[in-house]
Symmetry: C2
Subunit: 269 residues, 2 copies
């Protein structure tokens, strides 16, 4: 038993983010301010939680995955900053406050996102072991999430916003834009925690299915699934089952990851 | 004597860039196309040349630095794509052809730049040794170059474009926006080539001064130096001398780097 509670994990994530983000004295001050605003605080931090708990699931120490965990959250937040830009989704609000471009201007938002991405890799490189594998996992997600966003921007404009994804794009966008970050989080945590190849693979499978379940469930919540409600509920069940099944062979404490997957199902009911 | 000619280095750089960039069959095709367009071909590739020759300068094999060399060129090109954006320098042309946003649209240019940055780190992680140090060097430059650009955007608008840099910003912008990429190129090459700590430090010093000399000389060529012509020529001489002096302790073949530094001086005369 080496896993921790959600509160302990969250505190490790927030502490590490604070440690790696530029402080108010770092020049230029407005860049650091926009970066800290983008990363915010008090979010759900699901991806870093997956990363820390994956280290525990291979029998390692969650602390060893704290820099990879911060790295995946930095990468995730940079993608949100760029997705919100006027030339992309044109969202002036995020989490109930002005989005980064609405608050700091478009150029500063692009640059804050760029710096967050660089900082994500700089932080991942501080993993105490398997740095090459950790950075490669983050890099694959970094490329994948952009591939997903380019495909996502192909939606035709409909009444009141962009229309649904064309059928042939759904699997690609969900895998690249959503699941890739979960897969990287789990793989980085497993590698930083000292997991062997088989354990890392099992956690990738877990995270792919968790990411897909998360996306289908989100579609149910938002009422804009590309499939029927019945079919989407079936997909949530299937992917959640496959996620938890992938945990069975792992040597460490998988209770946190299992509870996370099972907690996703039924958010919409 | 383990150094190579400029043509051999260039061919290694182009071959490696082609190997790591997405091919036409990779989805979504338009992202890969914009990325390949941004990186272009037949450029001077000064930063990757510095990287390869730094491996030789520590007595290592240039081939061992080919992924780090490609990585620094990918990072450099992403910064150009974003610098050209309408909300930044608003340049519709680059190297005599339409800039990426002018050809592919603003959203695709932001995303192609984002993917190039991720690919840069993914490629750096393929260094055959010292992956942690190689990625950290690239990450520091990745953050630094954005800090420099944020400071650079503070120029007041003048007649016919942005005015000169305020005096207190010159050193900061030159170090972060220009020299940091040269320093990362040299450090990555030295680390990938198996150089010891002292050799890596000497090459960082070389590259910092080379980068500054490069920038001052550019100012002379463009006629927009923040200092008098006489003072700028003096700065070019000083930094070039400091660059070549830093090479003297290195165990490998430094002839390429020496010629590169000396070739910079006098471009403007």
């Amino acid at each position: 038993m080496n896993g921790k509670t959600r509160e302990e994990y969250l505190s490790l994530v927030e502490k590490t983010l604070e440690e790696v983000l530029p402080g108010p004295a770092e020049r230029p001050a407005e860049l650091g301010e926009a970066m800290r605003y983008a990363v915010g605080s008090g979010g759900k931090r699901i991806r870093p939680l997956v990363c820390l708990a994956s280290a525990a699931a291979v029998g390692g120490r969650a602390e060893d995955a704290r820099f990879p965990a911060a790295a995946i959250e930095l990468l995730h937040n940079y993608t949100l900053v760029h997705d919100d830009l006027p030339s992309m989704d044109d969202d002036a609000e995020r989490r109930g406050r002005p989005s980064v471009w609405a608050k700091y201007g478009e150029a500063n938002a692009i640059l804050a996102g760029d710096a967050l991405q660089a900082l994500a890799f700089l932080t991942a490189a501080r993993s105490p072991r398997n740095v090459g594998g950790v950075v490669a996992a983050l890099g694959e997600a970094g490329v994948g999430v952009v591939q997903g966003q380019v495909e996502d921007l192909k939606r035709e404009d409909g009444a009141g916003g962009p229309g649904p994804l064309p059928a042939e794009s759904v699997d690609f966008v969900y895998a690249r834009k959503t699941a890739d970050l979960f897969v990287a989080a789990a793989a980085m945590g497993a590698l930083a925690g000292g997991g062997g190849e088989g354990d890392v693979e099992a956690l990738r499978r877990f995270a792919l299915n968790l990411g897909l379940a998360f996306q289908y469930e989100d579609d149910l919540l938002d009422g804009d699934s590309p499939y029927s409600r019945e079919r989407t509920e079936e997909l949530v069940r299937q992917t959640t089952q496959q996620a938890t099944a992938a945990l069975s062979s792992l040597p460490g404490d998988t209770s946190f990851l299992r509870a996370l997957a099972e907690g996703l199902v039924g958010r919409s009911r």
